[in-house]
Symmetry: C2
Subunit: 202 residues, 2 copies
DNA sequence: GTCTATAGCGGGATAGAC
DNA sequence: GTCTATCCCGCTATAGAC
């Protein structure tokens, strides 16, 4: 049974933190064991290998945003409402896990083989993104428009929400801001985005 | 003097290809030497170390898009014209170098120390992004609006252009498309985007 | 300037004591 | 279940022959 100080859980959380920031090949088992304050051998005891541990972390990260998106699209009908909820959800999730999007993207780019293997082995993941697009077509366009047009709109919604968080380290360095200032700008941006995106639905 | 088959140039091109896709820690000197069909020792002979070689590749990648953006903003006055040119430029550049944006982003995230060192040692880079934002404020808003509002617009323009290329591997896998189809969708998207973004300038 | 051989080390993984 | 010690591979880097 898991309790708060369970070593297994401590290791997983540390691994998530380290892998998410440094990526699979950038992170070392030593980094993780130091972050978790546990012996390096314990990592292998609980998770067998670096690969296995990474897979679990990646799967979890991958589902965080995806499940929330799907939930919004499945329980909301009004278009403006969907966009507003998505804006809020992206802001909340990415403020809480600043490197989550980078992690997913980074592994997709630098090691697509490993990641594609993980995802195709779990059919529900791909399914849910395709479902997301299908829902956009049905809910926003009532099925009246073509694939490319729906895709373009979906890409715009996701782009303006996620991209600024992806380049967060660049923006913070460039404008010499701290985390508080960055979050404040992104928080104001939520309302701006809802307005920006709604304009295109009339 | 450099000629076409110069070993030094062959190595650099191979390094660019490998580093850009696999990232610094994911790539090995062996990968690069095989890609270049050159002996591994030659890499050290010409570029001393993996770090030095990477720095040169990164600097070059970093300047590709930045210099083009700056050029557009410095030589164009009409707002619609600027956006149209930026859309075309992003499409052309990222179609030709599909992993360029991922490379810059990946290193910023996984190893910000190395990259920030590179960039701050070369003042002109930071300068040119700040200049880009300043130009947006002056050219698009005639200096009449505040920092956050200008930043938001600039973020939107960059987001909708770059993000789809960042998630290119995801899109290609998800919709089972090939490179030709992907490029075709992105090419159509250029016109769509010019229209999409122009709506917000009235 | 190009190659082979090898030094040297960092990092993943395991054996075995406790 | 937790620790120390250690194995061993893969990778960067260099020495030295040609």
């Amino acid at each position: 049974m898991l309790h708060v100080n369970d070593t297994e859980k401590i290791i997983f959380d540390a691994a998530q933190k380290v892998f998410t920031i440094k990526g699979f090949s950038g992170a070392t088992m030593d980094d993780i064991s130091k972050e978790a304050n546990v012996n390096k051998a314990a990592l292998h005891y609980y998770y067998r290998s670096k690969e296995k541990l990474f897979e679990l972390v990646f799967q979890k990260n991958y589902h965080v945003i995806l499940d929330k998106s799907r939930n919004i699209l499945e329980t909301t009908d009004n278009i403006e409402e969907i966009i507003k909820k998505l804006n809020n959800m992206y802001f909340d999730t990415l403020s809480e896990h600043p490197y989550l999007a980078n992690c997913i993207l980074n592994e997709y780019t630098t090691n697509s083989d490993r990641v594609l293997g993980l995802i195709t082995s779990n059919g529900s993941v791909n399914f849910s993104i395709l479902r997301l697009l299908a829902l956009v077509r049905v809910k926003i366009f009532k099925g009246k428009t073509d694939f490319e047009y729906s895709l373009n709109l979906m890409l715009n919604i996701i782009s303006v929400n996620i991209f600024p968080f992806l380049i967060r380290p660049i923006l913070i360095n460039l404008f010499k801001m701290n985390d508080v200032r960055f979050n404040s700008i992104m928080n104001n941006r939520k309302i701006y985005l809802t307005d920006f995106l709604s304009k295109h639905l009339q």
